[in-house]
Symmetry: C5
Subunit: 87 residues, 5 copies
């Protein structure tokens, strides 16, 4: 998993029907974790812009969030409220 900040969101009116009802948030990984730039993740926990979140990627996002048949490869799965060694 990675930790990042919610910095925006994306709207797609025309999309795969299995995606309807999801929110697509843009995540900027923490600098200590940034081998990748921003990614788009669905929001599984009610995160808002500016919050620091935990993101799962790959089949874990799809299966772990009960969306087995959805074309989702990343999901916000927690809101970080404390940490050691994140910076």
């Amino acid at each position: 998993m990675l930790v990042g900040k919610v910095v925006g969101s994306v709207v797609a009116t025309r999309k795969n029907e299995n995606l309807v009802g999801n929110k697509f948030m843009i995540i900027e990984p923490m600098e200590s974790m940034a081998d990748k730039k921003r990614i788009v993740a669905i929001d599984n926990v009610g995160a808002g812009i500016g919050e620091i979140v935990l993101v799962a990627e790959g089949s874990a996002a799809r299966i772990g969030c009960g969306m087995v048949n959805c074309p989702i490869d990343a999901a916000i799965v927690g809101i970080v409220d404390d940490s050691i060694g994140l910076e």
Copy 2:
């Protein structure tokens, strides 16, 4: 997922039989997301060249687009019509 621009397409007459009927689009990730260069994704939503799209990768592309037995590892799953924080 990542957001990118459709910049081209690829034609492969000789291909795996499970790929027949698909369109292979070339996607250039947005600069804020560009830790990878261009990728090829099948088109699940009717996207055209020049459009900004949402792309799912990995098993999510295959399973989420109802193509469980196809050798597909990336799919366009939405057309982006609005966003915050994409640049």
Copy 3:
């Protein structure tokens, strides 16, 4: 798999219900393995901060640790006590 050092941890009070009870450790890959920066992994073996650990990523973390339905994409699966060629 990769080998890294446990350098911290993350607390997320609000999270996906399938994650409850897990510890989220921050791993810094050994320099010889560092094409990626720090990652977050659940702890499957009782590792502490400062220990050198073996980390599995992807579906291996989820399925290999008996957490098939959890949104987990990385897990500490061993504590390294000897090695050749790690540096």
Copy 4:
């Protein structure tokens, strides 16, 4: 998926029994797609050295090529005969 050129091949007499009968080709991704260097892919379509091919990675290679139980993470799934925007 990615597009690349077949630049070589690998022979492994001693190998996992599920790999017997496969050809292992070395693929150099097109420069516009090159965030990764060369990879090894099995050949699912009869590609030869010098040809430009479409490669699927991950579980898509294994499942999409009918080799569910084989340790294969990349496969040539098409031979590219035309393209827009590849360079």
Copy 5:
């Protein structure tokens, strides 16, 4: 898949029980394939230090080596004894 050289090994006395009995080898990818640094892979074919090997990653390692429920994301699946275009 990638081709690399076995350059070492890792011992983890305390580990996930599904990993017991495996050897963890450190692989350095060939320079032409080195977008990633060293990785750790289990040994499925009896490879020794110094040998040039073929490595499968992701679910292919786990499923293709008959270790479906093990937290393994990379496996040595062949020993390379000849090649064209590897350098």
